[in-house]
């Protein structure tokens, strides 16, 4: 394990939180009802906080004087290591709930393990994020059940949402080179061991929601190594526009 592996890995976690936060933030003013509009922006705010903690830590590891803002606003798409799942377009509310539920279930299990990491900074960030993630999971799993076990239309849309994002879930559990190294060094929990726990938790909620587990076909990979869907470019164009157009701009 060297600094570069840890640096890129911390960015990977930060990018997940940052990109997903940006997607949720896009619901601001467009939510199906005001309470859920507020809920999604609350989730986005927690995720921004988690991303900031991680970007600050990444900047410290790198030690080249870059700041959290440089990490978020001045890197290009191929230097972003977030999961493809987190960058998927919002679609309808059902698809957003599906994406959030599958991510939250993973984040809940992952942070529960990461908080025991011998890396004190990662452990502290995980301990803090875990409390917030537990609340996010409560929100997203409740909505899967409410929509799935709701009307004919909500059931159909929830099922379609799950079907659409499902092919982006296996990437979570397939370690790339830097993750293999960090897992071997004992810094990270074993991702492969989390998968059955994730599947069991997801299955239980999907069954309660009277939905069916989508078929595992055509799984997509690449986000963790900087190979993204076309969606990420649009997110970065929106997120980074001000700093690119007016370098060093401050509010």
């Amino acid at each position: 394990m060297n600094h570069q592996h840890l640096f890129e890995y911390v960015l990977q976690l930060a990018d997940n939180a940052n990109v997903l936060s940006h997607r949720l933030g896009q619901w601001c003013g467009h939510g199906p009802v005001i309470e859920q509009d507020i809920a999604m922006t609350n989730l986005a705010l927690d995720l921004i906080g988690q991303a900031r903690n991680l970007y600050q830590y990444a900047a410290t590891i790198e030690g080249k004087g870059r700041t959290e803002d440089d990490m978020a606003y001045l890197r290009d798409g191929w230097d972003f290591y977030n999961l493809l799942l987190t960058e998927l377009p919002n679609g309808d509310f059902g698809k957003t709930v599906a994406r959030q539920f599958l991510y939250d279930t993973y984040a809940l299990l992952f942070y529960s393990e990461l908080k025991n990491s011998p890396n004190e900074m990662l452990a502290a960030i995980a301990e803090k994020s875990l409390k917030e993630t537990a609340y996010h999971y409560r929100w997203s799993s409740e909505w899967v059940i409410r929509l799935g076990d709701g009307t004919e239309e909500s059931h159909r849309k929830m099922q379609e949402g799950l079907n659409e994002v499902w092919r982006y879930t296996d990437e979570i559990f397939q370690p790339v080179e830097r993750e293999k190294i960090l897992i071997a060094a004992g810094v990270l929990p074993d991702l492969a061991a989390l998968k059955p726990q994730w599947e069991e938790k997801v299955r239980a909620v999907i069954e309660e929601a009277t939905l069916s587990l989508p078929e595992a076909a055509g799984m997509q990979y690449g986000g963790k190594t900087g190979r993204h869907t076309e969606a990420l470019g649009y997110i970065l164009a929106e997120m980074q526009y001000m700093q690119r157009a007016y370098p060093g701009l401050e509010w």
Binding site: A39, L45, D46, Q50, N53, A124, E127, K128, E132, Y135
Partner: protein, 161 residues
Amino acid sequence: MNVTQIYKLLASVTDPEIPVLSILDMGVVRGVEFSEGIVKITITPTYSGCPAMNEIEKNIIETLRLAGVSFVKVNTILSPAWTTDWMTEEGKQKLMEYGIAPPLSPSADKKALMGEVRQVTCPNCKSKHTQMLTLFGSTACKALFKCMDCLEPFDYFKCLR
């Protein structure tokens, strides 16, 4: 200036989002130390994305500077993670008077947020005949409730543990 006096000054620094609570009432201050002529104050955020943290740090430095303490360092830690258990009883009382229902114990909180038991007290008329409207509210730390007796909506400060 000694540690007790510093704490007295910190008691006048309030949470910008809930101005009736001091940062001591909130349990955000985790330690005060003197070393080599510098006052080192350790704080912890309530939530990762709490936008009040930068403001709190500035206010601490400003308050101490006005009292003649110019060498101040504010250090933010994440672990142990903040819990509503650290909020003082006095703080909970002030919240209630301000119109925000204070956090319940964790087991009661879960039941209240799941809608199983009605035990969140309306800060307006003190009825327990209240209902949760949504898990999220005006800030990351609150949920929105409604009183079924006086019909006023109100914020409930969520238990975080």
